[in-house]
């Protein structure tokens, strides 16, 4: 058995080197477009977590474009591919803000993806714009989740509305909206407990939270943001589908892009359910949030490949 492992491992190291040389060389070098190149690109997409089908479809489109535009040089490919990727992702969309406030933003996702941290970052963003922000401590389940949000409240200068651990999150939502109305807050950021999308009862709970919000302000929640961890593989597609069904997700925040994972699964998601990516997370600090720019994301999808990667 040990033999097989070390073999696999050596193989991995070797390909990494091959691959780095290959994609870099293939896309920048002066050479003709050939089968090997298409294969390398498909591979690059799969390794970014785009998914086999999405990768194949994109490369298929690429072949058609090459034919239509009568391209011959490998160099020209990169740009076309980036265009195709950016097209698939659609234009970056700004947040839907209510005038007058309060704008209610509900933040949902599976466990550990970075919901609370993202709320801290968003609070900071809105505070910098001079907005009055309320954070609703809707994760009443995980140990010390409320304390975590309170620390983000302090850091960003946002008020926190909370109840006890174990309280009904819908009741917290209700309180937060009342507080926002009476204190004329501009934005309410509603935290929720992490939940796996296949847990029927927990998803029902989320539906209820949303219902309570809508009952208090008919146009709310103005945004329902699904937080996705860029390290996640194909399961993110299921997450997107089911959270959209239950909570009416309006946008994605793709976190942890400061690692080596590329987050290519958002491409796969667009093939199944169209949900725009709105923000990306690039670290654990308060300022590590950026608006999503499809062109930049597409460029990073391939350019990063020149660096070491498994």
């Amino acid at each position: 058995m040990a033999g097989f492992f070390s073999q696999l491992k050596q193989g991995l190291v070797k390909t990494r080197q091959n691959f780095v040389d290959k994609v870099g060389e293939l896309l920048t070098g002066r050479r003709k477009i050939d089968e090997e190149l298409y294969e390398a690109l498909e591979e690059a997409l799969i390794r970014s977590d785009a998914g086999v089908n999405t990768a194949m479809e994109l490369v298929e489109k690429l072949r058609r474009e090459v034919k239509n535009r009568k391209l011959t040089e490998a160099q020209e490919l990169r740009e076309v591919l980036q265009e195709l990727v950016a097209d698939l992702l659609g234009a970056g969309k700004p947040l839907n803000l209510a005038e007058p406030g309060p704008t209610v933003i509900l933040v949902v996702g599976v466990n550990g993806v970075g919901k609370t941290t993202t709320i801290g970052k968003l609070a900071n963003y809105f505070r910098r714009e001079g907005k009055r922000v309320i954070l609703a401590a809707g994760d009443t389940f995980r140990a010390a989740a409320i304390d975590q949000l309170e620390i983000w409240g302090e850091r960003s200068g946002a008020e926190v509305v909370k109840q006890k651990e174990g309280a009904d999150p819908a009741a917290v939502a209700f309180d937060a909206i009342q507080a926002a109305k009476s204190r004329q807050a501009d934005v309410v950021l509603m935290d929720t407990a992490g939940r796996l999308h296949n847990k029927v009862n927990l998803m029902e709970e989320l539906r209820k939270v949303k219902r309570v919000i809508t009952r208090e302000i008919p146009a709310a929640p103005h945004e329902v943001l699904l937080v996705l961890d860029a390290t996640t593989g194909q399961n993110a597609i299921q997450q997107a589908k089911l959270f959209r069904e239950t909570a009416g997700v309006t946008g994605i925040v793709l976190t942890k892009l400061d690692g080596t994972a590329k987050g290519g699964v958002v491409l796969g998601i667009q093939g199944e359910v169209r949900i725009p990516v709105k923000w990306i997370g690039i670290g654990e600090g308060m300022d590590d949030l950026r608006p999503f720019v499809p062109q930049d994301f597409a460029a990073a999808l391939f350019s990063g490949l020149d660096e070491a990667e498994g």
Binding site: M1, A2, F4, F5, S6, Q7, L8, K9, G11, L12, T15, E43, I46, R47, S48, D49, G51, V52, N53, V110, N111, G112, V113, G114, F141, R142, A143, A144, A145, D147, Q148, E150, I151, W152, L196, H197, N198, K199, V200, D229, T231, T232, G233, Q234, N235, A236, I237, Q238, K256, D258, G259, T260, A261, K262, V265, E272, E284, E309, G310
Partner: protein, 448 residues
């Protein structure tokens, strides 16, 4: 999006039935499907490549067993190789002859380290040990508090110190364990990226300070292609002893398990299967192999069923199925049994062949409640012989159950279809469930 591998292979092999040996061309065709299945399950690209090459070698020229179709034969080989690659069942923690045994949990942000520190502590406590947990996540807001709250819940002491470096806290924790007579020390560390030099250095320092018996990498089962980078780097820097695979109660296929095992060679020692403290299980490579291949976790299903079903009742039920006497009364009873087994959707997914039909089917537990109410509003006679239910009875039942006549009608119709399907099912292999006509669902009343 994804069809079970066995079904796909069945299609690939349709033309090849009855061949004595698997030839190269057949196997190549089959391996294309295997490759797709593994990639869809998030097994790393390179791991897939090597694995497929290896399996192909073994499969070409293999005798097709008489009892199997060529497709089944290939699945069997793939399945066996997957299990072999993932190693034997292994959930042992090395216990140091000189206490305390020190266990250190490491991993990316959000993988589930803190929760699993508590789960492990709770498990070891139940086995008669006296654990102490050490809070070395000094970065994430309220991480220390989280561990303290969990410690209180499971009545395990937590060692924490403010304003000191992680390695110093770990060391002081170990000393404290000696003083308190704790025999296991579980160190929770901050989540970090494998490319963060400084923080990876911190882990090496902790290791140097306390010399843990077990350094366990905590990996989210939903991780994609990047799992190999993460595992490889953590292993190179720290020398891992094992892996804990978390969030397996989700519906991910979990190919990361294979990737991580392939690059580190470390056994997966535990699987996290829920948010509750008790939701920690041994890792079963055979089940994981089925899951990665999308073949349904037959073993788990059988075990779950055995726990929930009164065996005698099950035998009776089978008898009835065979004699085609299955009534609405029995159906109600089965529904009660099913409920004991857990969320319906997760159970259905474990049944081979049904995964495909479930592709965009949602099981509505609310519908299930309606069905139950309807049946409960019927007289025993009606339950045994639904054909006697005509309009006036329908009206009464609808009223009694707070549903509509249409709903009652639909249930009766679906039950009739189901009885037909049950006949096939009782007659053949469990595979019969998946053999329903294309486009026609198995017709369970709460499945749509």
């Amino acid at each position: 999006m994804f069809q079970g591998l066995s079904e796909k292979l069945q299609e690939t092999f349709k033309k090849l039935r009855g061949k004595g040996k698997l030839n190269e061309a057949d196997v190549t065709a089959a391996m294309r499907e295997v490759r797709m299945a593994l990639l869809e399950a998030d097994v790393n690209f390179k791991v897939v490549k090597d694995f497929v090459a290896k399996v192909k070698e073994r499969a070409v020229g293999a005798e097709v067993l008489e009892s199997l179709s060529p497709a089944q034969q290939v699945v069997k080989i793939v399945h066996e190789e997957l299990i072999a690659l993932m190693g034997g069942a292994e959930s042992k923690i090395q216990i140091s002859p000189k206490p305390p045994t020190i266990i250190m949990l490491v991993g990316l942000q959000g993988a589930g380290k803190t929760t699993h520190a508590a789960k492990l502590a709770s498990l070891l406590k139940k086995q008669g040990k006296h654990p102490l947990m050490v809070a070395c996540d000094i970065y994430r807001p309220a991480a220390v508090k989280q561990l303290e709250v969990l410690g209180e819940q499971i009545k395990v002491p937590v060692f924490a110190q403010a304003g000191r470096a992680a390695a110093e806290i770990a060391r002081a924790g170990a000393e404290s364990a000696l003083r308190q007579g704790a025999d296991v020390l579980i160190i929770d560390t901050a989540g970090r990226l494998h490319i963060n030099e400084e923080l990876m250095g911190e882990l090496q320092e902790i290791k140097a300070q306390v010399q843990p018996q077990e350094i366990l990498l905590v990996v989210d089962a939903m991780t994609g292609q990047d799992a190999v980078n993460v595992a490889e780097t953590f292993h190179a820097r720290l020398g891992l002893d094992g892996v804990i695979l978390t969030k397996l109660d989700g519906d991910t296929r979990g190919g990361a398990a294979l990737s991580v095992r392939a690059v580190t060679g470390c056994p997966i020692k535990f699987a996290g299967v829920g948010e509750k403290i008790e939701a920690l299980e041994a890792f079963y490579p055979d089940r994981m192999a089925s899951r990665i291949l999308g073949m349904g976790d037959v073993l788990t299903l059988i075990e779950k069923a055995q726990q929930a079903f009164d065996e005698k009742k099950a035998a009776e039920m089978q008898q009835k199925l065979r004699k085609q006497e299955f009534s609405l009364e029995d159906f109600l009873e089965q529904m009660q049994q099913l409920k004991k087994m857990g969320p319906l959707a997760s159970i259905m997914e474990m049944i081979p062949g049904i995964g495909k039909q479930l592709k965009d089917v949602t099981i509505d537990e609310k519908d299930m409640a309606h069905v139950e109410a309807i049946i409960r509003s019927m007289t025993p006679d009606e339950r045994r012989k639904p054909s006697i239910i005509k309009d006036s009875r329908k009206r009464r039942i609808a009223k009694g159950s707070g549903t509509s006549i249409q709903e009652v009608g639909r249930l009766l119709k679906q039950f009739e279809q189901m009885q037909k399907m049950m006949k096939q099912f009782a007659g053949g292999l469990p595979g019969g469930l998946g053999k329903g006509k294309k486009g026609k669902r198995a017709g369970l009343p709460f499945v749509r």
